[in-house]
């Protein structure tokens, strides 16, 4: 490179109008979920996919990528996380909560049959 700018020369990067951020979702292989992996800057979705490939698919398996405009993400405010503090006891929503076999054994014992 023979035409390097002088050290004193000022070079300013302009804000590239219309370049926005896209959230990138990466899918390792068919059948698995797309996972959020980061963001890229791009002027449109097609270029965002190109940049996402360079940034997030350099090694390992990739079968698919999604890009979504950051501004299209609607997120809950962390300050509102208390809406998840409903009843603290949710075991009744789990399969393991139901000890039916115990009751059947009890019933058999009471009835006196095998």
């Amino acid at each position: 490179m023979t035409d390097l700018p002088e050290a004193e020369e000022t070079v300013e990067v302009e804000h590239p109008e219309g370049w926005i951020t896209y959230e990138v979702f990466h899918q390792k292989k068919r059948g698995t979920q797309h996972t959020h992996v980061g963001i890229v800057h791009a002027p449109n979705a097609e270029m965002a996919i190109v940049f996402a490939k360079e940034s997030f698919a350099r090694r390992g398996a990739t079968t698919n990528l999604w890009v979504v405009k950051s501004e299209d993400v609607t997120a809950l405010d962390y300050d509102d996380s208390d809406i998840f503090d409903t009843t603290p006891e949710k075991a009744y929503r789990e399969a393991g909560f139901y000890k039916t076999r115990d009751k059947i054994e009890q019933l058999k014992e009471n009835e006196g049959h095998e």
Binding site: L4, V13, G18, W19, H36, I39, V73, Y78
Partner: protein, 328 residues
């Protein structure tokens, strides 16, 4: 790579901003509980400022750090070394991209960061103000500078700011390859002809002082940053990181029968601490403030890239879209 080499004083006591005490207490409690801070959370003014500074300069270090290696791709010995070096350089630029994104979530645009690099306002890791003269220098960078950066980055990935931690985890995973390929290339020279061994030894002699500078001045010299430790912005002292580096990597040099240019370098059997000749810190400050062998060239190359690449960015302008801060 190239994380977090020391780039200057982290903060000046008298400049501390005043925050709402109730919010501050809540913020500190969250960090004490081990929770991460996310971009849209409330955070102290100085926390935001320090993180922007730190992540931005880490990003610059990745970009500038790729320059000395990039020029060696055509000269790397053999096809496999060329492939590895290309992959590494591509990774480093990718790391820069991820880190710029993480800094951006805190409210500074990418273009502002680029401009602060080009104007000399933002620093980058000081080791990249030194030239890679021979291929052996490239192997020393890949082996020992990447190793030092990994020590730093693994520690920082346990920090409190979510986007930075996530970027660092991914970076550390990729750095593992950088270190291995660097070590492999370095050992190839060390186990080669007498001339190749001499190249490796000369390179160690050239790079030892910049490597000793990498983690920054001794804790005795630098401002004690207790608040940044409490906020998990800084997680280990300069001296602790340097000790950790020496402990792992000095034996890896010595086992090859090569030497390091410091007759006082040894591990004290009692204290378990490494002892060494204090590197010249005047040189360090002189270089980091612009007067090193490569400062001018590094920035000139960046300016050249900005100027020559401008038409591409302009050709892709999409005036219908309006910029907003990214989410994560």
């Amino acid at each position: 790579m190239y994380g977090g080499g020391y780039t200057g004083e982290p903060e000046k006591k008298q400049e501390q901003a005043q925050d709402d005490p109730a919010l501050l207490a809540e913020f500190e409690a969250k960090i004490a509980r081990g929770e991460k801070i996310e971009p849209r959370d409330w955070m102290p003014v100085d926390y935001r400022k320090q993180l922007i500074r730190m992540i931005e300069q880490h990003a610059h270090s990745e970009i500038i750090g790729a320059l000395p290696e990039g020029t060696f791709i055509t000269r790397a010995p053999g096809f496999k070394r060329k492939m590895a070096l290309m992959a590494k350089v591509q990774d480093e630029i990718g790391h820069g991209q991820m880190l710029y994104s993480a800094a951006e979530t805190l409210g500074k645009t990418r273009e502002q960061m680029f401009n602060d690099l080009l104007s000399g306002k933002s620093k980058y890791s000081n080791v990249f103000n030194y030239p890679a003269v021979t291929w052996a220098d490239v192997t020393t960078i890949g082996f020992l500078i990447d190793a030092a950066a990994i020590v730093n980055q693994v520690i920082n990935s346990k920090g409190s700011y979510g986007p930075y931690c996530r970027a660092l985890e991914r970076i550390c995973y990729e750095e593992a390859f950088h270190l291995k390929q660097g070590h492999d290339a370095f050992v190839s020279l060390a186990s080669g002809t007498p001339y190749q061994r001499q190249l490796a030894q000369d390179s160690l002699n050239r790079w030892w002082e910049p490597i000793m500078h990498f983690f920054g001045p001794s804790d005795k010299m630098s401002v004690h940053s207790e608040r940044l430790m409490r906020w998990k912005v800084k997680l280990a002292s300069n001296d602790d990181m340097r000790q950790q580096f020496l402990n792992t990597y000095v034996p890896k040099v010595w086992e090859l029968g090569l030497t390091l240019p410091d007759p006082n370098l040894k591990k004290n059997a009692e204290t378990k601490q490494w002892e060494f000749t204090e590197p010249n810190w005047d040189t360090f400050f002189k270089v980091i403030n612009g007067d090193g062998p490569c400062n001018k060239e590094r920035l000139a190359v960046r300016k050249w890239a900005e100027e020559k690449g401008r038409w591409v960015r302009q050709a892709l302008i999409n005036p219908k879209e309006k910029y907003t801060l990214p989410y994560a």
